[in-house]
Amino acid sequence: MKERQGNSFFVYLGMLMVTLYILAPIVWIVMMSFKSRIDVVSVPPKIIFTPTLDNYLALFGLGKVGLLSGTAFLSYFKNSLILSLGSVSLSLLLGMPAAYAIARLRFAARDSLAFTYLTFRFVPEVTIILPLYVVYQKLHLYNTYLGLILVYQLISLPLLIWMMRSYFEEIPVAIEQAARTDGYSWFRSFFKLVLPLAAPGIAATLVLAFIFCWNNFSFGLMLGGHSTQPVTVGLLSFMGTNEVQWGLMAAATVIAIVPEMVLALAVQRYMIRGLTFGAVK
């Protein structure tokens, strides 16, 4: 479309408003994480304050904020890492053959099957959690990493299948045919040619799947206990009703979301494609 240059003042004003709208709560939580116990609850709120690392030190067990130490946070953080990495790895294992089959093989149910995987993305979590709660109690999967990683497949597996499928489809079949004609085995042509070509996209998708797993709240809340719950659930315990703990909560939040934001900016180019399961490239 033709660019109109005349009203660039309003464009910048709009961009400024969008920026403020997006950044305000993030900046606020970062500021809060550097506030002392007294500054956090000060009325009116302090924009200018003496920053302190107390909250961060407390989280890593190197100090206390009042009577509180935040070391429980570290175990929630560890749980999140185990759950997200475990889920993404399992999805990669389960999903890669399926994605390749859907991308390259001809079979009657191909589209319906792909579509069925997609519909799992749309299932409300509670509808899955309640039945699983009963089953998990019986199978002793309740409050286990394995149980949570299995249910996290609902988040990461459809995403990985759809994205890997779309990256495989972009690789010309001719390349594989040529390799096969040259006497490459199927495995060799897959691992030496197809996979390296699809790798950047797949890597970005893995990052995105990791973030989605990391962001999940309800599975851990209802199917996990204290020893397996992720950081999203753990953070709520800092929230409580007591505003004094908000400094700790803020520091924990910053630690929980900053790595994600850095990862997200690193794979920015692939983001929209991943967020829409390949529908928008």
Binding site: M1, V41, A98, Y117, Y133, Q177, W214, M222, M249, V280
Partner: protein, 301 residues
């Protein structure tokens, strides 16, 4: 859209051994089995909805349609259903229009626009439950910056029914509008220039261009946005759980929140599952309808 190269390889050898028609099934089996494993308890659960299953005793007896009859005569259920649909409708309407405006704004080639585009990713990376917590600190009655800037003193956003409703929807809008904006922005950038230039040369009015050119051409993108947003906003849980917990009274209780309380506070699994099934029916119907429309809109391109 991706092409289907396999159908054009009639002359050459197909890339994969064609002899087996069970190969695709073997390759998709692990993923399919995992999904069935997660979903099959759901089938059992349909049966539980006809029982008085309580998660503490795990003994139950068949009670027929009692859970459903009680559900339909329960004002709390209808209030939660109303909230679920109302929040979804309000959030979607604002997310779509605001997202479209932001997309139009960021579709211009001005300095700094790529930074703002990158910033849009940030709210998408914040877990919804944390978005809720962040805004709760922003809106805190004494120490929060919002009340300070607006001069509202100790106004308690989460205690007044209407402001509580407003805040819940507002936080959902904050965390999801960037998704809408980014998808529609990719849509705008994929549009051909010629029809718009021609329309401008002809002196077409902005509204005419918007309604007759832009929106129809953006239709596949709008459908994608709707598909992904509708299903998520109907199961709104995390943000509410982190902020109001469904209160005051039941004014911000959605079906997922109601169901959570029913199971983990009153332990009535049977009747909770009946409610969850209602949510599932709505969600499945909407996502199926939108997904098939989306498939059709991309197939014709």
């Amino acid at each position: 859209m991706a092409v289907m190269p396999l159908s054009r390889t009639a002359t050459g050898a197909p890339p994969i051994r064609k002899r087996s028609n069970w190969l695709p099934w073997i390759m998709t089996a692990p993923a399919t089995l995992a999904m069935i494993g997660i979903m099959y308890p759901f089938a059992i659960a349909v049966y539980y909805s006809f029982t008085n299953y309580r998660i503490v005793s795990q003994t139950y007896s068949f009670v027929g349609l009692r859970n459903y009859v009680r559900m339909f005569s329960d004002p709390n259920f209808w209030e939660a259903m109303g909230n679920t649909l109302m929040f979804a409708a309000c959030a979607l309407a604002v997310e779509l229009s605001l997202g479209f405006l932001i997309a139009l704004l960021l579709n211009r080639q001005v300095k700094g626009v790529s930074i703002v585009r990158a910033l849009l990713l940030l709210p998408l990376m914040v877990p919804p439950v944390i978005s809720g917590m962040m805004w709760k600190t922003m809106l805190a009655s004494g120490s929060g910056p919002v009340n300070y800037l607006l001069g509202l003193g100790t106004y308690a956003w989460f205690s007044n029914p209407w402001s509580a409703r407003f805040v819940v929807v507002f936080i959902e809008i904050w965390s999801s509008t960037p998704f809408v904006a980014l998808v529609l922005l990719s849509g705008l950038q994929s549009l051909p220039r010629e029809p718009f230039e021609a329309a401008q040369v002809d002196g077409a009015h902005f509204w005419f261009i918007l309604r007759r050119l832009m929106l129809p051409m953006l239709q596949p993108f709008i459908l994608v946005v709707l598909l992904f947003r509708v299903v998520d906003v109907i199961k709104l849980f995390d943000i509410i759980f982190a902020t109001t917990g469904g209160g005051p009274m039941y004014v911000t209780t959605t079906i997922p929140i109601l169901v959570y309380k029913e199971v983990f506070i009153s332990y009535n699994l049977g009747s909770a599952i009946a409610k969850v099934l209602m949510l599932w029916v709505i969600n499945y119907g909407l996502s199926f309808w939108l997904a098939s429309r989306w498939r059709r809109s991309t197939a014709t391109r």
